[in-house]
């Protein structure tokens, strides 16, 4: 009697060398349901706690069992002694993965406060404090302004720091909340095993009928006691931690536990340091360095100039501080973070959860996507694709929603074939799923039978009841050794014959047949039909499909009367001379959206490389199906076959496509791999191990590509980590993969990646716009100080006012640019070259600073001089006025009309100037945000009001500006004065000038691409 032990959802907590038995293991988080209480019976697992000091699988899988016993002072049959076991436990600790050491929260927070720009702000604050201290001790009036500013600066740093910290906290929280969705390893099971491992001895025989499977792939793989490969990861006699036993029983010796297992290593490797910086992080760092450098440069230059002109040291220091405050874009980092998190949110709605905010942009610069096949490109669901009967190949509907065409079902042969397919099948639907569409119902059974069951359910309907009508008498289960299955059935009441149906590998089935069913007629199976069969079999196999043959026989009622005792083991019934019914082939069909998505990638200049563990033929078929290998592309082998020449003589450059299997890949040097990737634009890697994925990723990166990698298995995590952007599958992905990845696809769908790419490119464009917008106003903030120091006019713009521009009024508009639609079809452009296409390039900075910024400065000064002149201070009088203007004791300073002003009156006039300058910058910034909507197109083409957020941001900015100006109490709190309405309109012509000038710039850029104008003025 053959026993079947089905073990699902049970985790191995140890890596062990399998000493006996064969067995199926499966990735822990696969599609199989986790019904909590696994049927794992403790009695079947004679674990033996291992010895491992600095050993990593070594040659454990190659040595004999006796040697293994010696090495671990254990016994395969008896296990460790309890004393030994507790010693080992004490030495190695419990068998669990330690969570990766995170950075302590306070360090994370401190880091937010110690960025390049923040440090400058600290310096500025300290200078303020010193100035306050000195002035206070001197008893100078108005010294509290410095204290006030220092406190404001610190508040700004701390608040933006908190904001950044909160963003970081939130983005790590995304994954934390996500973690709760996936089933976690249950520790209690492990403890149970722990005890068992000491007490229970291995008593099980291995000769039970077992399904055995592999551990790393999504397809179950069988495990055997024999060492099949020198690589411990490839060999079949090691079962790895975190894999699930699907079916079967085995005995083994534990060789590693906890963090010393491969997963432990991968987890610590993946979560450890060496986290590569994302392109956007590099960009921002690069740019912050420049800004900080320039701020110090400007500050220092003017410090020296001020000292030279004859200012006191303290005053010069205050100038330095003020220049730093004016020049540093305080709100920029917050803007960038908000923009990225907005996109991350948008992506989350499209099934991409972004763990690391910066990954959003990385996706946009991706130039190569290494994609898995199963589940990502395909539906991860075996589906009947073709049938062969009546000597014709019929195509079945493989679409996800059954929207395709069906085939002709009128033939008598089809009825027989369908009957065999329906009866000769052990798969059953789980109950209570009647409301679900058939393709998404859950089935208990293996992949092929599931496919067949769903197929029969779809075509003939109600398979379960159909099976009831044909009562099963005996069955010989399908197994891996003889590849066939026989079921006996009883036909309807009057007909007393038994029906034998059989399915299996087509050639095996054909061997047993003597006749073939053609159009309902049993014809002798002659050479002609055999050839026809062969052709059909080859054709279907060539499509990369899994083919099964079906046959049946009505048994003679005299020989096998009712009540005949069939013995499945003795086979006391005919198993040859049967009647061949047909072939059914199955494939895991591509997802409907994938071909489009691949096409989009192609137009976007992104290479899609398929990396799969599947058979090359299947891989190639799917690749061709989804467009990774485009129509008309040939591999070297194709060319050789077409030209009828040996493969060696084919010029490798002629072949666009290339399919490389894992075996070939192993023998290739990295140069050869690079060369292959360079010369063939369309690549498919088949039969690869996950380790080879890492090699492929590295090779792509050597070629200068930004690589996105999809993965689900635990051992994909190094590749995910290595990749510029790792994408883990949300459904099929393991925890380790999700931890290592930067992004998680909730629907496992390749098309979602393309959406991500689009969003990533958009945000890069929009960030450019945001930054350009933010940088522009630094010049009109800086120039007042420069003029103040060099020309000694009364100060036109105060530090606190600058902070209000940076952190209050301008934040919303700069963020609103993130909502801007793409200017052109960004998916028709090549991915950006990270070395050339910088986020902040020279043209952008120069255009913002020296052109738009300059116009804004002039606008500010015009308004400033207007406000001064209209109150009685002519421009020429202002020049050189500073020392008298700021003299606290001078209460009767004469203006151009001979009027005498007290100090406080002058101070309020100065505040009026601040406000006027502020208003000018605001007005110009409204114009600026409008021109930043596009870099190339005219704003009229883009549409003024299409970006609703931007419009409301402008309204908000104006309202806030009005609030600051006209709210009572502002003069003495924030140095804003209620200014005359006319002064709001003084900068308007400059705003119009900015708009018109930029339209002219864009027109030139559009009209004369490549011209000097384009080169110098396009950013």
């Amino acid at each position: 009697m053959i026993k079947n032990v089905v073990l699902q959802t049970t985790h191995f907590f140890y890596e062990k060398k399998i000493t006996k038995s064969i067995f199926y293991l499966q990735d822990s988080y696969n599609m199989f349901e986790m019904d909590g209480e696994g049927k794992w019976n403790a009695a079947y697992i004679p674990f033996i706690v291992p010895f491992t000091i600095g050993q990593f699988l070594q040659d454990d899988h190659e040595i004999t069992i006796e040697e293994l016993e010696m090495r671990y002072t254990t016994s395969v049959t008896k296990g460790l002694t309890s004393r030994m076991a507790s010693e080992v436990l004490e030495r190695d600790g419990p068998n669990e993965l330690l969570p990766p050491k995170g950075t302590p929260e306070y360090i994370k927070f401190a880091r937010q406060l110690a960025g390049g720009l923040q440090c400058l702000m600290w310096v500025a604050a300290v200078i303020c404090f010193i100035a306050f201290g000195i002035e206070f001790s001197r008893g100078t009036l108005g010294c509290f302004d410095d204290l006030y500013l220092a406190i404001t600066l610190i508040t700004v740093v701390v608040v933006t720091g908190c904001f950044g910290y909160y963003q970081e906290f939130k983005s790590t929280n995304i994954i934390a909340s996500f973690k709760n969705l996936v089933p976690q390893v249950k520790i209690w099971k492990y403890r149970k095993c722990m005890v068992i491992s000491v007490c229970i001895l291995g008593q099980l025989e291995a000769n039970l009928g077992l399904y055995l499977g592999g551990c790393w792939e999504s397809e179950p793989q069988s495990k055997t006691p024999e060492c099949t490969h020198e690589n411990p990861l490839e060999t079949k006699n090691i079962a790895f931690f975190s894999t699930t036993c699907l079916e079967g029983v085995a005995t083994g010796t534990v060789i590693n536990t906890g963090d010393r297992t491969i997963i432990g290593r991968i987890a610590s490797l993946a979560s450890g340091v060496g986290n590569e910086k994302t392109p956007i992080a590099i960009e921002i760092e690069h740019f912050v360095d420049i800004i900080a450098g320039l701020a110090i440069f400007f500050g220092f230059t003017f410090f020296v100039v001020a000292m030279f002109i004859g200012y006191a040291f303290l005053e010069a220091m205050i100038f330095f501080m003020a220049i730093v405050v004016a020049y540093v874009p305080e709100g920029l980092l917050a803007t960038v973070t908000v923009c990225l998190s907005l996109t991350a949110k948008r992506l989350a709605r499209k099934n991409c959860v972004v763990k690391n905010l910066e990954a959003v942009e990385t996706l946009g610069s991706t130039s190569v996507i290494c994609s898995d096949k199963t589940g990502t490109l395909t539906q991860n669901r075996m589906t009947v694709a073709h049938l062969w009967f009546d000597n014709v190949i019929h195509a079945a509907d493989t679409t996800e929603d059954q929207s395709g065409q069906s085939f002709d079902q009128s033939s008598e042969t089809w009825r027989s074939l369908a009957r065999v397919a329906a009866l000769c099948n052990r798969a059953i639907f789980k109950p209570n799923q009647e409301s679900l569409p058939i393709p998404s119902r859950i089935v208990v059974g293996d992949a092929s039978e599931t496919a067949l069951l769903k197929f029969t359910e779809l075509t003939i309907g109600n398979t379960m009841e159909y099976r009831e009508r044909f009562k099963k008498v005996v069955e010989v289960p399908f197994n891996s050794t003889n590849k066939f299955q026989v079921i006996h059935e009883l036909e309807d009441p009057l007909d007393l014959r038994y029906l034998l149906v059989m399915k299996g590998a087509p050639e095996r089935i054909l061997e047993r047949c003597s006749t073939i069913l053609i159009k309902g007629q049993e014809l002798p199976l002659d050479e002609q039909w055999r050839e026809a069969f062969q052709t059909a079999y080859m054709d279907l196999g060539g499509l990369g499909e899994r083919v099964l043959g079906f046959c049946h026989i009505y048994m003679n009622e005299k020989e096998f009367p009712r009540g005949y005792k069939f013995e499945s083991e003795e086979m006391n019934f005919p198993t040859s001379g049967l009647c061949f019914a047909g072939l059914i082939s199955m494939i895991d069909p591509p997802r409907a959206t994938v071909p489009d998505a691949v096409m989009k990638c192609r137009t976007a200049g992104i290479r899609v490389v398929m990396v799969t563990g599947d058979h090359p033929i299947t891989a190639r078929a799917i690749a061709a199906n989804v467009g990774i290998i485009s129509e008309g592309s040939e591999t070297i082998e194709d060319i050789a076959a077409r030209k009828r020449i040996p493969v060696e003589q084919v010029n490798k450059r002629d072949a666009r496509a290339c399919v490389i299997n894992g075996g070939q890949l192993k023998d290739m040097s990295s140069e050869e791999l690079d060369e292959a990737l360079r010369s063939h634009p369309e690549m498919v890697f088949a039969r690869t191990s996950p380790q080879q994925k890492l090699i492929i990723v590295e090779s792509c990166q050597r070629l200068g590509s930004i690589v996105a990698v999809t993965g689900d298995g635990v051992n994909d995590s190094p590749a995910l980590k290595k990749a510029d952007i790792g994408i883990a599958m949300g459904i099929a992905g393991s925890d380790a993969a999700k931890n290592a990845a930067d992004m998680i696809l909730l629907d496992d769908n390749f098309a979602s990646i393309v959406t991500g790419v689009e969003q990533g490119r958009l945000i890069f464009d929009n960030l450019k716009k945001s930054i350009a917008y933010t940088l522009t106003k630094n010049i009109p903030e800086l120039t007042p100080y420069l003029i103040y120091i060099t020309v000694s006019v009364p100060l036109p713009l105060g530090c606190i006012t600058i902070l209000f521009i940076e952190l209050a009024t301008d934040i919303f508009p700069s963020v609103s640019l993130a909502y801007e639609k793409a200017e052109s079809d960004i998916m028709h452009l090549k991915p950006r070259n990270p070395r050339k296409d910088r986020l902040v390039n020279e043209a952008l900075a120069v255009y913002s600073y020296f052109q738009i910024g300059a116009i804004q400065s002039f606008a500010g000064f015009t308004d400033y001089f207007t406000a001064m002149a209209q109150e009685g201070w002519y421009p020429l009088l202002c020049v050189g006025l500073r020392s008298q203007w700021e003299n606290v004791h001078l209460q009767d300073l004469q203006d151009s009309y001979g009027q005498e002003w007290t100090y406080a009156q002058r101070l309020y006039q100065e505040y009026t100037c601040y406000t006027v300058f502020f208003v000018s910058i605001e007005i110009c910034q409204i114009s600026d945000v409008l021109i930043r909507k596009t870099r190339r197109l005219s704003v009229f083409q883009q549409g003024f009001f299409r970006n609703k957020v931007l419009v409301s941001a402008i309204v908000f900015q104006l309202l806030l500006g009005n609030l600051l100006c006209y709210c009572p109490g502002m003069p003495n709190i924030f140095n804003f004065m209620p200014i005359r309405v006319q002064w709001w309109f003084v900068p308007v012509p400059y705003g119009i000038l900015i708009f018109v000038y930029d339209e002219i710039r864009k027109l030139g850029v559009r009209r004369y691409p490549g011209s000097w104008w384009d080169q110098e003025l396009y950013y």
């Binding site: 300059a854 015009t862 001089f865 009685g872 004791h889 203006d895 005498e900 002003w901 007290t902 406080a904």
Partner: protein, 301 residues
């Protein structure tokens, strides 16, 4: 800023001999871009200067467009000192020399011989009278005459007889003026309600009264008698309005001299002087608007 930096280091960036590039650009390229910026900034500068010129054209020569920051007027005094402190030792010339010098300098504007020109000055009487309007600001009358203000009106504080302005005797003088504002006519208080009782005696027609008293309660009585010199012991109205620097170049503000004749010696006294009028205001933030504070300490040891 350029990517050249990474490739060839700074030196190569500054001068790339292979391509003949200086700071990432060839000579021709520099010429073009500098030319562009020259034109660009010339245009902007032209625009700026043009706008400012337009602005100046809109301005009146005689009266500022707005006067909302300068009015109501400030009250300033001479001598002024750091931390508004007037501290001296009457036995030590050095301690009050700066004060007396400042006063002499200030009063030199009011020297009699400077006011002789009949074309520019006229007598407005030694008694307070009504405002003296000299035509509309924008009328074609041109330069207006100014009222004379003789130093002798300030009596002992005029500096004519006593060059030390009473500092030597411990009876220091202060010269006070109301800051001038174009076209501003200070209006005397219409009722006595807003004026402290002690100061009410100073209210007279056609005069803006000024009154000094102790700032702190504890200084009451220590200040002694305060004497006021000048036309009507305040600011007489015939000197107003002021017709701006262009139309009224010779304008002399009326002055009031305040003398503390019986001040308590060797004590720091806080004195507040205030002018009163309909359109005279005071502000918490501006300690010199319509009033001022003074710390006075006369030492005789």
């Amino acid at each position: 800023m350029s990517s050249n930096k990474e490739d060839g280091g700074w030196k190569k960036f500054v001068w790339n001999s292979e391509k003949g590039e200086f700071c990432g650009r060839t000579g021709g390229s520099w010429f073009k871009i500098l030319g562009f910026y020259l034109i660009f900034y010339s245009f902007l500068a032209g625009l700026f200067v043009g706008t400012i010129q337009c602005l100046l054209l809109t301005l009146s020569d005689y009266k500022p467009t707005w006067q909302d920051r300068v009015a109501p007027p400030g009250l300033s005094h001479t001598p002024r000192s750091d931390k508004s402190e007037l501290a001296f030792n009457l036995n030590d010339l050095e301690t009050y020399l700066p004060y007396t010098k400042a006063m002499r300098d200030f009063l030199s504007m009011y020297d009699e011989d400077k006011q002789r020109d009949q074309m520019k000055y006229e007598d407005c009487g030694d008694e307070p009278t009504e405002y003296k309007y000299r035509g509309d600001l924008n009328s074609d009358v041109g330069v207006r005459k100014a009222c004379r203000f003789q130093r002798s009106l300030l009596g002992p504080c005029s500096g004519i007889e006593d060059r030390e302005f009473g500092f030597k005797e411990g009876k220091p003088c202060l010269i006070v003026k109301l800051n001038r504002i174009v076209n501003f006519v200070p209006r005397p208080p219409s009722s006595n309600d807003s004026i402290p009782e002690a100061a009410q005696y100073k209210v007279r027609p056609n005069v803006i009264p000024i009154f000094c008293t102790n700032r702190r309660e504890e200084d009451a009585g220590k200040i002694g008698e305060v004497k006021y010199y000048g036309i009507g012991e305040g600011f007489p109205l015939q000197y107003y309005p002021y017709y701006s620097k262009v139309l009224h170049p010779q304008y002399l503000q009326p002055l009031v001299a305040i003398q503390f004749v019986n001040v308590t010696m060797n004590t720091e006294l806080r004195i507040e002087c205030k002018v009163f009028g309909e359109n005279i205001g005071y502000s918490e933030k501006d300690k010199f608007q319509g009033r001022f504070e003074l710390k006075l300490q006369v030492t005789n040891l």
